[in-house]
Symmetry: C2
Subunit: 261 residues, 2 copies
């Protein structure tokens, strides 16, 4: 298989750098092809702007969605964007690896999503009708591929638990796992989160890589998060609300997971 | 009063640009002092990295938290960071204004948070003991100030409702409102969200600015979101889990709001 790891940490000699090295070696030893987009090392441009469309009239009003679509369809995207899209096309799995900064991904990785998931590629795909609202949330150009988050956090696991002060980790990651990855079609594996990173020693690092290695070994065989497909009948269109008879009376992120169905 | 608006849209001739102009005029007419950090116009550097500490040994291992702390305490922060911190110090209220991109803030604004909320300023403040876990979540250097999000979204309001496919808007914004704003001490006002921005016409724009103006008029008098203070007795320390007798059996973001207390 072919794995793309998009990695966002400014220092290679960090825990994240060591985990990145481990993943690359572990996957290659298992016979997989691995590519790494080391965003800091690449000097990735984080901010989406008019320069992302090479043939744009500099006097024209810039529209993030429409200019992205024109550049994608016209082959006039900035070269760095097109290269990352090519990496995604040849990947069977995408791993986003990052430290949790302010309860989300680092800005440089957010900017990778904003620029690479262009209109026509990552969103704005498919037709709208009374049966479907575009190819998204389980359908789209990245359908058939798997994705997983590998995240480090300075806080304790209890701080991210069901009643932890930071909010449950699965809720903090929902906008990424559901909104960024499931949206363009990925099947999303449960995340791998390493907590309390300031207390890392040799024993904990060994245990951490052993656990991470097991996750990589089952990346193709384990079951993904059972997010509901938008156009599969569970949602009313165009309101895009979960039908009343499904998880009646419940609200929030959890209703978008088909549990024990 | 003194208001800082941090604004993140790449095109002034956009709905967001028009709403930004409206807010500046409306607040100034009411007698307030307004500063705007127009991140795209400023060419704000989004990626936190070693260059943010001016006296860093370029051969040394870069530690995002420790180097940030050393630079903040030693007065060797990059000048753009220190300028934004000064703006925050003189502000009575902070407004973050942005289009919702991939269910969160644009990368350039995330990078403003990461770099400006330095260790010792936005986090890493106060002592840890068995009574308190630093000055955060309701305490900190930005306590006594108010904050509000002004957000535009392309989707429909129902898509962001309690059972909407994108997830409830209040949950999507929780990592920002609670994790970015309440964390360093801000009192957080309910957000102002404008939906379905592609269907904006003169009538809808007039209604939008009227509603937004009312929010600005009550920025000082309306009640903030009732987030629970970390060190106020509601949480067990150091587990930082909500005490069992509060909202017993409940989980998730909502437990961190004191409802009807």
């Amino acid at each position: 298989m072919h794995v793309l790891i998009v990695y966002a940490h400014p220092e290679r000699r960090s825990l994240n750098g060591a985990l990145n090295d481990f993943m690359v070696q572990h996957l290659r030893r298992a016979g997989h092809v691995v590519e790494v987009s080391d965003l800091y090392a690449m000097g990735w441009k984080p901010a989406l702007d008019g320069a992302d469309r090479l043939d744009r009239d500099p006097q024209a009003r810039f529209d993030p969605a429409l200019d992205s679509r024109a550049a994608y369809q016209g082959g006039t995207q900035s070269a760095d964007i097109a290269l990352e899209q090519d990496k995604l096309r040849r990947a069977d799995a995408l791993i986003l690896q990052f430290p949790l900064w302010w309860f989300s991904m680092p800005a440089i990785l957010k900017g990778w999503v904003e620029r690479v998931f262009a209109n026509g590629f990552g969103y704005g795909v498919g037709e709208h009708s009374d049966q479907r609202w575009g190819d998204r949330y389980g359908e789209g150009n990245l359908a058939g591929k798997r994705a997983m988050l590998v995240v480090t956090a300075g806080g304790w696991e209890s701080h991210y638990g069901p009643r932890g002060i930071n909010g449950p980790i699965e809720d903090l990651l929902f906008p990424i796992q559901h909104g960024v990855l499931f949206y363009p079609g990925f099947e999303v594996m449960p995340p791998h989160v390493v907590y309390r990173t300031s207390r890392m020693d040799a024993d904990k690092f060994a245990a951490t890589t052993e656990a991470l290695g097991r996750r990589l070994d089952t990346l193709w065989s384990a079951g993904p998060l059972p997010f509901r497909r938008q156009n599969g009948g569970d949602y009313a269109i165009p309101a895009l609300t979960l039908r009343e008879e499904i998880a009646p009376g419940e609200r929030g992120y959890a209703v978008h997971l088909a549990r024990g169905a």
